[in-house]
């Protein structure tokens, strides 16, 4: 059972809302927002433990959003979503403090494993 609240930040509204529904069906407390600015603004109110964050959004670069999240609360674990062909951008995100990264289109099993691992890390902290 995932204890952390999950926030999805992705400008693709259909993607974010559908993923959110799938996480809720698995018993998670999940919320989706659709811009980097909205995501950062929602942190105090939503108090997420895990954030699933798109790397490329029109208003803000995912790496910049990641930095803001870590400034706000370093204990929040961020899983970056990337549509890039190589794992380079995902690795860069990990260097900047992301817990893990996943390639789009998502493999839900892999994402669930990453969420579980992030939740375990938070539980032990």
């Amino acid at each position: 059972m995932i204890k952390s609240k999950v926030l999805i930040i992705d400008d693709e509204i259909e993607f974010a809302s559908t993923l959110c529904q799938r996480l809720k069906l698995r018993g998670m407390a999940a919320v989706d927002v659709h811009s980097g600015t909205e995501g950062i603004a929602s942190l105090p109110k939503m108090n997420p433990g895990i954030i699933i964050l798109d790397l490329k959004m029109p208003d803000m670069n995912g790496i910049d959003v990641l930095e803001k999240i870590k400034e706000y609360d370093p204990s929040i674990e961020v899983i970056m979503l990337t549509g890039h062909g190589s794992s380079g951008s995902g690795m860069e995100a990990k260097e900047k403090g992301a817990f893990d990264y996943a390639m789009k289109p998502l493999d839900i099993t892999e994402l669930l494993s990453a969420i579980e691992a992030a939740d375990n890390k938070r539980s032990k902290a």
Partner: protein, 230 residues
């Protein structure tokens, strides 16, 4: 027009195509992401017993959902390779694994062999050292040689792609059964030869007694200092 200017225009054109393709691949992955999540959600709801006890209907829907999932994975894999291919011209020279480069390009070459009903075999060398060279130009050369090989082959033939290390050099070979005398000109037009020369490569045609032809592209890493010069 000055030849250097013409080359610069062509170089920029290739870079523009690369960026356009990379953007296209990125957008398509987003669409596939939505399709995959929506399909997954249908599967989740179906798994919760939303359709009741109609086992036939459930089975039919499960089959469709699995089919969509399978096709999304195949499409995502092609787009993954397209992204890689499109980003190759980003830097004129870089370090890469020859097997990765071949597999990436093969995602697109496969179609041509399939249409000619030519089977493709693989004999990739293991643990090959990274090559420092011009990957975009090399992919262009591979495409040209591959296409020429297919011209000589037909239904039921097999084209085998091999990679190996030969001393300090890396070998890419295209092996196929000898169907007729291989004309060196087919693989050696001036533009292709110039492209091969530009990446410091060499092309050899070996016709073995066992009726096997090997088109051998021999490569080595370029000198880093030379490639940095304008």
């Amino acid at each position: 027009m000055d030849i250097n200017m013409e080359n610069s225009i062509r170089q920029e054109q290739i870079e523009s195509f690369g960026r356009l393709m990379a953007g296209f691949a990125h957008d398509m992955k987003n669409h596939l992401g939505i399709i995959r999540e929506s399909n997954g959600l249908m599967g989740d709801i179906l798994g919760m017993g939303a359709l009741g006890e109609d086992a036939t209907l459930v089975a039919r829907l499960e089959k469709s959902i699995a089919s969509i999932e399978r096709r999304v994975v195949i499409s995502a894999n092609i787009l993954h390779h397209l992204s890689g291919l499109a980003h190759r011209p980003d830097t004129p020279c870089s370090s890469f694994q020859i097997n990765d480069l071949l597999e990436e390009e093969y995602a697109f070459l496969e179609r041509f062999s399939r249409l000619k009903q030519v089977a493709v075999g693989w004999e990739l060398g293991e643990g090959l050292p990274a090559l420092y060279n011009d990957p975009a130009l090399l992919q262009h050369i591979i495409y040209r040689i591959y296409s020429q090989c297919l011209e000589l082959l037909g239904n039921g033939h097999t084209l085998t792609l091999l990679t190996a290390q030969e001393g300090k050099n890396t070998l890419i070979a295209f092996r196929f059964p000898k169907t007729s005398q291989v004309d060196e000109e087919i693989f050696g037009n001036d533009i292709l030869r110039a492209a091969i020369a530009k990446i410091g490569g060499k092309l050899e045609i070996l016709e073995n007694s066992s009726d096997i032809v090997d088109i051998r592209l021999i490569l080595s890493s370029l000198d880093v200092d030379n490639t940095l010069q304008p």
